[in-house]
Structure formats: C-alpha cells, structure tokens
C-alpha cells in the first residue's frame, strides 16, 4: 500500500492481474469438485498452473479484438469477461450456459465477447484464426485476433499451413503457443525433433520469441509488444509462453508420464504465488488484502455455482435448434 492509502495505477494493475488469476484458479477448483460430484461430465481440462498466460495476454487486447482458444479454455473465457455464471451453467449443461449447454467445458463460446471457442480438434482453430485475420484485413479494420493453442499443435500440419498463410498474407494474428511441455502424456522432446518452437515460426519469416509463461507481467509485456507489431501492420507474430500444467491432462488422465518431483519443481513457480510475492515486495499486497480478494472471488463463485445449479435445461423439443441458423438470426 502506498503511503497515503491510495494505490498507484501500477499497483492496481498488478492486483488486477493477481485477482484474475485467482478467479480462474478458484473457478477450476470448483469445476473439479463439481466433476467429482458428477455435476459436470464429459472431458474437463483444467488450466491450473497456466493462468498467467491467458491473464497476461488478455490485458493486451481490446474488447473489439477476437479471441480463439482450445478445449482448455476456461481461463481464457473468464479472463475475456464471460461471467463465471455462464461458464459454470454451460458446464452443467444449462440453457443459460454460454453455449446453451450444447458445448460443455470444451466448447465455451460468446459472440458478444468475440470469443470463438472452445475448439476441440487440436490445431483446427489455427486456420480459423487466420481467417478472422483475413476478414479483418480485407475489411480494413484494426482488430487483432489472438489465437491460443498448445505446443502439441505444432506437430499438426494445420499449424504449418496456417503459419505460412498468415505470414504470406500478413494477417493481423498473434499466435500464442502455450508450451506446457506435454500434449496429454507426450513430452515435447518426444514429439518434436527440434524443440525450439520459435525456430519453426522463424522458418515462415515471422517475428517469434519466447516468454516466461509463469510471470504474468512478462506475458503481458510480450503480448503488448506483439499486438503493437501486428496492429501496426507488421504481420503476424508468434509467442511461445513457457508454462506448465499442475494437474493431469483431463479428469481421465492417470498422469503416469511425469514425476512428482517435476510437478513439485514447477509448483514452486506457481504464477499466483509469484505475482502475490511481487506485489507484497512492492508493498501493494498484504495478508488482509489477499484474504479480502479471496473472499470476493469465493462469493462470486458461490453465486455462480448457485446460478448454474438453478438454471433451467433446454427443453428436449429444442434439440434440433441451431443446426442451421434460425430465421430470427438471419
């Protein structure tokens, strides 16, 4: 806290970053509980440990920009501004869910937030992001499309087709590769002959570098820099955010492919703890403030869970709606 009880803009922003990460962490902890209670079903992929990437990156975007994500997108959805109520209602299969219960955990969507999923086929979202960029370029707009994907996607042909198209056509897209070192149980070094991912992007003549994905402020700074290049007409950029998932790939995963020690080592670098420590060092956070923040988040989530549980189901008669666009939406 600064001497006069006012907090600086910098401190306020640092706290905002912390709060956003805590919101994601606690949301997903609730998800795990709800999954254990069989209220959420299907595949559930949590982002715990990686929150700094989505939170840092979202700071660099405006409400007009586009966001495209994978099946591990709860954090991105929340950080993008989709209310926890609608996210949880979705996972509970309710009509008030952000995809009316039709998508579930892997397919969160929100047109108002320009949040284009929630995509379950690894790497298939990359061409889509390029296309959003192409539309923007052809329409002469200034929107940037932020495309999040895991390092596992780099082995898919679509990654390469997209990098080339985006670079060739100088599309306004930031490719944010969340390198959490594993694709399900497959470590990067067992799936790529060359593990320096920025080199791949460079082979498309695209600006590319890596950032510490456990440091939310570093991520924000890097994405701001890339967004500035892209919005300035410099063509697409590629950022590798080096991070780690603390939990198993999904609720089905027995997590047999890595050691407890490795996980513990990375947990020491928990992005939330790191940001909290930094804020304390700056005098912007103390125990009481942290407890208050946690309490606010808990209240938000209590409300969201209650909302989701109380929300109605889509009537079964409406099963075939939305397969094609309804007249009203035309």
């Amino acid at each position: 806290m600064s001497g006069d009880g006012q907090i600086s803009a910098e401190a306020a922003h640092g706290l905002h970053l912390l709060r956003e990460m805590v919101r994601i962490r606690r949301l997903e902890e609730r998800c795990i509980e709800l999954y254990s209670a069989a209220e959420i079903r299907g595949f559930l992929h949590v982002y715990i440990g990686e929150e700094a990437v989505a939170v840092g990156a979202m700071q660099a975007l405006t409400a007009e920009d586009n966001v495209v994500g994978t099946y591990r997108e709860h954090g991105h959805a929340l950080a993008r501004g989709i209310p926890a109520r609608r996210i949880l209602a979705e996972m509970l299969g309710r009509v008030e869910g952000c995809s009316r219960g039709r998508g579930g955990s892997m397919h969160l969507f929100d047109a108002a937030a320009r949040f284009y999923g929630g995509n379950g086929i690894v790497a298939a979202l990359l061409p889509l992001a390029a296309g959003l960029g192409l539309a923007e370029r052809m329409q002469g707009g200034s929107r940037v499309t932020a495309c999040f994907f895991g390092e596992g996607a780099v082995a898919e042909g679509e990654f390469h087709e997209t990098m080339n198209l985006a670079a060739l056509w100088r599309l306004p897209v930031v490719f944010l590769c969340e390198n959490n070192r594993y694709a399900m149980g497959t470590a990067l070094e067992r799936s790529e002959s060359q593990t320096d991912l920025a080199l791949k992007a460079a082979s498309y003549a695209m600006p590319a570098w890596a950032v510490d994905g456990m440091d939310v402020e570093a991520v924000e700074a890097a994405v701001r820099e890339q967004v500035a290049i892209v919005r300035g007409g410099g063509g697409p950029c590629f950022l590798e955010a080096r991070t780690y998932r603390f939990r198993a790939h999904s609720m089905y995963d027995p997590d047999l492919y890595r050691t407890k020690e490795e996980i513990a080592r990375w947990r020491e670098r928990d992005p939330i703890d790191a940001q909290a420590a930094r804020l304390r060092e700056r005098g912007a956070l103390d125990d009481a403030a942290l407890a208050a923040l946690e309490a606010e988040v808990a209240a938000e989530l209590d409300d969201a869970v209650a909302f989701a549980r109380a929300a109605p189901l889509e009537p079964v008669e409406d099963l075939e709606r939305f397969v094609v666009t309804e007249a009203a939406a035309r």
């Binding site: 586009n66 869910g97 952000c98 995809s99 009316r100 219960g101 039709r102 998508g103 397919h107 969507f109 929100d110 047109a111 284009y116 999923g117 929630g118 995509n119 379950g120 086929i121 298939a124 990359l126 061409p127 889509l128 992001a129 390029a130 296309g131 959003l132 960029g133 192409l134 539309a135 923007e136 052809m138 329409q139 042909g157 679509e158 087709e161 997209t162 080339n164 198209l165 060739l168 709606r321 939305f322 397969v323 094609v324 666009t325 309804e326 939406a329 035309r330």
Partner: protein, 333 residues
C-alpha cells in the same frame, strides 16, 4: 459432354454459367471473394475463374498455397469475420484434406455455440469421373457431405442451376457445398433463363408415367439418355434431378414415385453406403405401398476408378445399364 462451338441460337457453357454467377456475386457484394489453388493467375484448374483476376484483382481472386485444410479453415474464419468467402477446392478427392474443417468446424459451429456463430461459407468443388483421371481424381464423395447436419449440399446439373445456384448459396447463413461435375464444364446448351432458382426442391427434368429415374449432376444426363432410349421402346420414364443433396427433397421424389410406382436411382458414387442408398431407403420407407417393384440402383462399380477407358466406362453408370435395370424391373413385375 464435349465443348462444342456455339450454335446459331444463343448458348452458354456450364463453365461460363458458373463464371457468370461468380462475376455477379463479386460485383454485387464486396464481402464476396474467391480463394483457392490457382483460381487467379492460372485461371482456375478447370478454367471456371478465368478472367476474374483481371476484373477483381488478387485480393478478391485469391490464389492460395497448396494447403487445403488451411485455406478452407481460413474461409471459415473469414465467414465468421463478416466476409462471404467462396472457397474452391480443386476436386472432392483433395477435399478429404479439409474434411475435418468442414465437418468438425464449419458444420458444427452453429449448434455447438448454441446458435451464436454462423458460417456463411460457400465451398465449390469438382467431382466425378469419366475423364480417365484414375483413382485419385475421379471419385464422387458427395454422399459424405450429404450426411452432415449443418451443411447444405448442392449439385447443379443444368446451365440454369450452374448460373443461378450461387446467389442463394451465398445468401444462406450456413455453410453450403456445391459440386460441379468435371464432365459438365464443357457442355454447351441454351442460355439460362432469368433466374432465380430455389434451393429447396428437386426438379422433374422429364415427365413420364412408367418409371422414375432419379439422379443428380452428371447422372441426370445419364438418366435423360436412358429415358430417351426407353421412350423408343414405349416406356415412359420420368427423370428427377435431386439438385439439393442435403436436405433431400423427399416430397418431389415420392410424388413422382406415387405416379410411376417404380424407381431407379442413378448415382456416380459407389453403391454401398452412398447417396443412392438414402434415396432408395427413403422411397422404400415412405412409398412402400406405392411400389410395384423394389427400387433399383445403378451406381459406379465398387472399385477405385481405373484409368483405361474401357474399364472406366464399364465402372461408371451408363444409360444402357439404366435401361437394363428398368427392363429387369418390368420383366420381374
């Protein structure tokens, strides 16, 4: 069908009709653009887009690298982003490389997002055999697309449909796939009428009373040739052109069968689990008590299409095989 010199009365080729439709669309709406391999400088691998680059420039007649999944996906994204892309995939055979994008993304997005996102994308591709292009350039996979909820699937068989199907396809807020049969491009016939055409109904291309022949695309012409041959024998065949492969216009099919009581489905796809199966199954389900004989199917032999002409001819549905199927039906009844 071979490209013939224009006759005295005004004619137009199928290819030119498709091109005029593209030109109209590009003129009418600046959100419309064409992208695909060699659509620009080369002039389109089958010449459909020749000349459009000069009129509309390289941004709107956009050559792509060989990246079927990438540029079809880019089309999906561009459609989401407010444009009205027309993606040309050279042939349906190569479209398998982009099948994931079309099935798992384009067709699913609207439902999966609870109706929030729409993909007003048109994908055009060449289909069909008969040009000795062998097993990797000749197949007819339309039936696979016709299986997918969320897609509309069109197959023009006439100059009018080639000329007028594109505009309503572009007006559709959901993805539309249009199949152009490679053997029809050079076909020249009377100039199209003024349009528009509707995208809901099958069309009766020849009226008849004894048997209904049902086909789409090039198979309509096979059926028409068969009907001509049958007429010489005093058998009056009605020819139904499906036009819209998804959603199928069952009513028109059943209406015809209710008059003729016999049906032969002609399809250039393979028989097993193909489009022909659905048409036959629907008739047998919904017009069972109308039928005087089981529905017959004349399809492509279940082989990867061979290069040699005599073998390819033997594999593809020919008018003679349709005639034989009708005769067998009459004999059996």
């Amino acid at each position: 069908m071979t490209e013939t010199a224009p006759a005295a009365t005004a004619t137009m080729s199928f290819r030119a009709a498709l091109r005029e439709a593209l030109r109209d669309a590009l003129r009418a709406d600046e959100r419309v653009f064409l992208l695909g391999e060699d659509v620009g400088r080369y002039g389109g691998s089958f010449g459909v887009s020749r000349g459009l680059l000069d009129e509309f420039g390289p941004e709107r007649i956009r050559d792509t690298p060989l990246s079927e999944s990438g540029f079809v996906g880019a089309g999906i994204g561009a459609a989401l982003g407010g444009m009205r892309p027309i993606v040309e995939v050279m042939t349906v055979n190569f479209s398998m490389l982009a099948f994931d994008q079309i099935v798992n993304t384009a067709a699913s997005l609207s439902h999966m997002s609870g109706g929030q996102f729409h993909v007003p994308l048109v994908v055009r591709m060449t289909t069909g055999g008969g040009r000795q292009l062998a097993a990797q350039h000749s197949h007819s996979f339309e039936g696979w697309y016709a299986h997918v909820p969320g897609l509309r699937v069109l197959a023009p068989a006439t100059i009018d449909d080639a000329r007028w199907m594109l505009a309503p396809a572009l007006a559709d807020p959901d993805p539309v796939v249009i199949f152009e049969h490679g053997s029809l491009y050079g076909w020249e016939a009377a100039e199209p009428g003024p349009g528009p055409v509707d995208l809901e109904r099958a069309a009766i291309r020849r009226a008849g009373t004894d048997v209904t022949l049902i086909g789409s695309s090039q198979s309509v012409h096979v059926a028409l040739a068969a009907a001509e041959a049958l007429a010489a024998d005093g058998i009056s065949a009605e020819v139904v052109d499906l036009r819209v492969l998804r959603p199928l216009d069952t009513a028109t099919i059943l209406g015809s069968v209710a008059r003729t009581h016999r049906a032969v489905v002609v399809d250039e796809g393979w028989r097993s689990v193909g489009l022909s199966a659905e048409v036959a199954a629907r008739i047998a389900e919904e017009a069972f008590y109308e039928l005087d004989a089981p529905v017959a199917r004349v399809c492509t032999a279940e082989v990867p299409l061979p290069y040699a002409k005599h073998l390819e001819d033997a594999a593809l549905p020919q008018p003679e095989r349709v005639v034989a199927a009708v005769r067998a039906m009459e004999a059996g009844a």
